[in-house]
Symmetry: C2
Subunit: 213 residues, 2 copies
DNA sequence: CCTACCGATCGGTAGG
DNA sequence: CCTACCGATCGGTAGG
């Protein structure tokens, strides 16, 4: 069991500690639990400040250790970011799929998906939130992996939109791109206070809702 | 004439060279012209990579000089960014105002404004393009000035949207926020090739178009 | 997990 | 406009 619950073991050498010295019932935190803490801390910081503006020292400090020590848990800043990004998208996909499963009509599905996406993007429960579209500050070598993963996630929305009875003049590809752009960058334009998240989602769906003639 | 055509002299100490030793008819570039070149170069780089990822040395290199020499023309990286941002928004405002002046109906005005915004955002003529919403990587001290300027610009759209015969269920504030978010970040989601800019603008207006019942 | 350090790079300055 | 440099900070490593 070299692969803990956290890690999906997809990327061959992702740099987690080799053995899980779990704390056999004692009050001690296991190595994988410590690693999870670090992932959450890093996710929060990356989401707040972006990739470049978040330093290894920032992350280490919040985790209560020195920068060098962090490298016991991770292999590199880049690998850390990719892992967080992948996990965040997996979690988001699961949440959106769960919530649309209970819907009957296509428009209901769209609205439920929008509400859930806003919750994911705007709630600071770290690991799930940062869809992080701010790829500009991410090194090129990493970008491809991130984009592939994101495209995979967006297939959920492609399917929802495919089922909508839209007027034929509307291009479903650009429809999806625009909608996802708004949802994925919600943390950048959302202003706390005036409208609730479901109200915002309803406004978005209200704007994007067009029935075929 | 310590204020050249480029500079609006709004921000008190913006750091341009004190006197314009213009090249009295000769083939020599004047100091203000050199400064304009630097502004264009910096604008392009900031737009491509964001504030933080663009180094003073990058800018200097493209301008054919050393990092230190740049400080003959500018006072600081932050002041440079603010100046570019202000100029870009002024130019964008002028272009959008000019284009909607020739429109008769509210929906025509909205579509014309959208087309123009996409042109501005997607054409790499540097100085005009970077509305740069990527404020995350910008230092806090600068952010307030940028936001104030941006709010000023967005008044144009507030007025256009105020004139639209929208259904009462649609909140015009969030309507404006969503629309501007799409237009301002077009360079991040636009994929060259499939649809032209006017076609994209038409799709956006098609989605955002709702007549009151 | 720590100390101590590496080479690289950053924005900016001095002095010409 | 240049050279030469500053202190700060970066991601990462060695050796314990």
């Amino acid at each position: 069991m070299s692969e803990g619950a956290v890690h999906r073991g997809r990327a061959a050498s992702s740099g987690q500690p080799k053995s899980d010295t779990r704390a056999a019932g004692s009050g001690e935190a296991s190595v994988v639990e410590r690693r999870d803490e670090i992932l959450e801390i890093a996710a929060t910081l990356f989401a707040e400040r972006g990739y470049r503006a978040t330093s290894i020292r920032d992350i280490a400090e919040r985790a209560g250790m020195k920068a060098g020590s962090l490298y016991y848990h991770i292999t590199s800043k880049e690998a850390l970011f990719v892992e967080i990004h992948d996990k965040a998208l997996d979690a988001a996909a699961a949440r959106v799929r769960a919530v649309i499963a209970g819907c009957r009509s296509p428009w209901e599905r769209l609205e439920a998906a929008c509400v859930e996406m806003l919750e994911i993007q705007l709630n600071p429960e770290s690991l799930t939130l940062p869809i992080m579209n701010n790829f500009r500050s991410v090194p090129d070598e990493v970008k491809d992996a991130l984009i592939r993963k994101r495209d995979e996630f967006e297939r959920i929305f492609r399917d929802i939109i495919a089922a909508l009875p839209l007027p034929s003049a509307i291009d479903r590809t650009i429809y999806r791109i625009l909608l996802l752009r708004l949802l994925n960058t919600a943390d950048e334009w959302y202003r706390e206070g005036r409208l609730t998240r479901p109200e915002i989602a309803a406004q978005i769906v209200g704007i994007f809702r067009h029935e075929a003639g």
